[in-house]
Amino acid sequence: MLDGFLALYVFMLAAFTGYEIIARVPVILHTPLMSGSNFIHGIVLVGAMIALGHAQTSLEIGIGFVGVLLGAGNAAGGYVVTERMLEMFKSSRPGRGEPR
């Protein structure tokens, strides 16, 4: 557990950073952005790994296992879906030929 005030500072600054960065995203990218930020909270996977890694009773291990499973799903699914969407955004300018 972090020192409370430091935690508060980190929290405040991260919130500003998230807000300011997103505030400039054009509407055209809102769907991929939603799934992209969905991917980013997939970092919960790391926390679930730590929880499972320190679990002691079988109940804890069971819950931890489910946690890692879900966290991995969040991270992997979020990535694939976002990447697939963003891949499709193309400009007509850089000399692209006939679209498929």
Binding site: M1, L2, V10, A14, T17, G18, Y19, I22, P26, V27, I28, L29, T31, P32, M34, S35, G36, S37, N38, F39, I40, H41, G42, I43, V44, L45, V46, G47, M49, I50, A51, L52, G53, H54, Q56, E60, I63, G67, L69, L70, G71, A72, G73, N74, A75, A76, G77, G78, Y79, V80, V81, E83, M85, L86, M88, F89, K90, S91, S92, R93
Partner: protein, 475 residues
């Protein structure tokens, strides 16, 4: 987290940095692709570093869960159709919420065990201290939010997937929901107070899950995207809180950034629909709309061949897609048609309303999938001044977003929502299957306008007919 080796903390730091830089790059279509890759590298780094943590047990189990979860999600994510994106995002988001709740559960169960053995002080911070009130509160709060996001997102998924068609409403629902939430909070407070018994923990989670379920069930399927975005912010917050408990800065930062970003996105969505978030969550929007009011005039039909000729000889055509295009999966045919027009020298643009479809940017994703370059796509503010000089506006599967009643009828549920001003075009052709209303369930005055012609049929079929008609013209 001073007990972590420097190299691992450095990896976490790098991961947080890459997440932020990745999000930054997602703010332009040109660099967005690279952005997600950067964020992905950050994630891989963080996971690898975690494996290297000293004292991490159950590595086999971790690897197993990691592999299964990744493989399943990767496979489903690769396979799913573009139109099903909203529900997939809901599903993955729910998983994240569930994982956060699971972390909280492991913590609490662990604390409970420690409490039984008279505070042996075991805690994940591994600094040998008993859990403090702040730590417990954050663990409980993160678990609550995560669990609500989990069950709520699953309901959203089920609704969008069509597995749960009806809305589930009964009188007094709001009061019951509030009671469930209040009870969950009371149990949570008792946990924080130190009464860490297993039944209490189980009850707390059961109530939290139940609340997520009950809160989401009455919301109409079409409102789901806003709800999903809200749950996305929830999961972010839950992750940040559990990150505080674990002392993991990467989780704190990534979670908080997503929490703030998701809140902003949710607001933007609600605002674009001209509704408040409270109205979305509790409003039962559309459920109460009465009979469509009569509008003077008649709908004048047109044949696909005539419509095709009209556009073939036009100078400027603006295509306005809406939810119906997504339903009909017509984007590929529509783009084929647009390309034929462009080859004939017609100036074609696509005009996209911020809330066309069922999630923000929905139409952009579909058109991008079909291969429409994004510089042919104009947003509302850009295109509205151009309608008066447009020869034909082709509305395909859009309804509410082109409804002039939003400007003229203060009694309308969409009154005040900015719309695409297609009525100002010289001619309007509307493609839809019949007399169906849009999301808001109201009549559309546009369809009765003098310059409007109705082209009835399924979006994909009609687009195919238009393509065929153009081709005969050229032959």
């Amino acid at each position: 987290m001073a007990w972590l080796p420097g190299a691992i903390r450095a990896c976490y730091f790098l991961a947080a940095l890459l997440f932020i830089l990745g999000l930054k790059r997602m703010s332009s279509p040109r660099s967005a692709r690279a952005g997600i890759v950067w964020a992905g590298v950050g994630m891989a780094l963080a996971v690898a570093a975690t494996f290297a943590l000293p004292g991490l047990g159950h590595r086999g189990l971790i690897l197993a869960a990691l592999s299964i979860g990744t493989a399943a999600a990767w496979w489903s994510g690769r396979r799913v159709a573009m139109t099903a994106m909203p529900q997939m995002v809901a599903l993955y988001n729910g998983m994240g919420g569930g994982a956060a709740a699971a972390i909280g559960a492991v913590e609490l169960v662990g604390f409970a065990g420690a409490a039984v053995t008279l505070l042996d002080g075991r805690s994940f911070t591994a600094d040998g201290q008993a859990p403090g009130t702040a730590q417990l509160s954050l663990a409980v709060l993160g678990a609550l939010i995560g669990a609500v996001s989990f069950s709520g997102s699953l309901v959203a998924f089920a609704k969008l997937q069509g597995w749960l068609d009806r809305r589930f409403t009964f009188s007094g629902q709001r009061v019951v929901n509030l009671l469930v939430l209040a009870l969950a909070i009371v149990l949570g407070a008792m946990l924080v107070g130190g009464r860490l018994t297993p039944p209490l923990i189980a009850g707390f989670f059961a109530l939290a899950l139940l609340f997520g379920l009950m809160m989401t069930l009455p919301i109409g399927g079409a409102d789901m995207p806003v709800v999903i975005s809200l749950y996305n912010a929830f999961t972010g917050l839950a992750v940040a809180f559990e990150g505080f408990v674990l002392g993991n800065e990467a989780m704190i930062i990534a979670g908080t950034v997503v929490g703030a970003a998701g809140t902003l996105l949710t607001q933007l969505m609600a605002r674009a629909m001209n509704r408040s978030l409270g109205n979305v969550l509790f409003g039962n929007f559309g459920a109460t709309t009465g009979a469509a009011q009569a509008i003077a005039g008649a709908q004048k039909p047109i044949e696909a061949s005539d419509a095709a000729v009209m556009m073939a000889y036009a100078e400027r055509v603006v295509i306005v897609p809406g939810y119906g295009m997504a339903v009909a999966q017509a984007q590929h045919k529509v783009w084929e048609f647009a390309r034929l027009l462009i080859e004939r020298g017609v100036k074609v643009k696509f005009a996209i309303h911020p809330v066309a479809g069922r999630m923000p940017g929905h139409m952009n994703v579909l058109l991008a999938e079909a291969g429409v370059p994004y510089d042919l796509i104009a947003d509302m503010d850009e295109i509205n001044p151009e309608f008066p000089s447009t020869d034909v506006a082709l509305v395909i599967g859009a309804n509410d977003v082109v409804n002039p009643l939003a400007k003229t009828d203060p009694a309308s549920p969409i009154y005040g929502m900015p719309i695409l001003d297609v009525a100002a075009a010289k001619n309007v052709i509307v493609v839809k299957r019949g007399k169906g209303t849009g999301f808001a369930g109201i009549e559309n005055a546009l369809f009765y306008a003098d310059n409007a012609r109705m082209l009835y049929g399924d979006g994909q079929a009609v687009a195919g007919e238009l393509v065929a008609a153009l081709k005969t013209l050229d032959a």
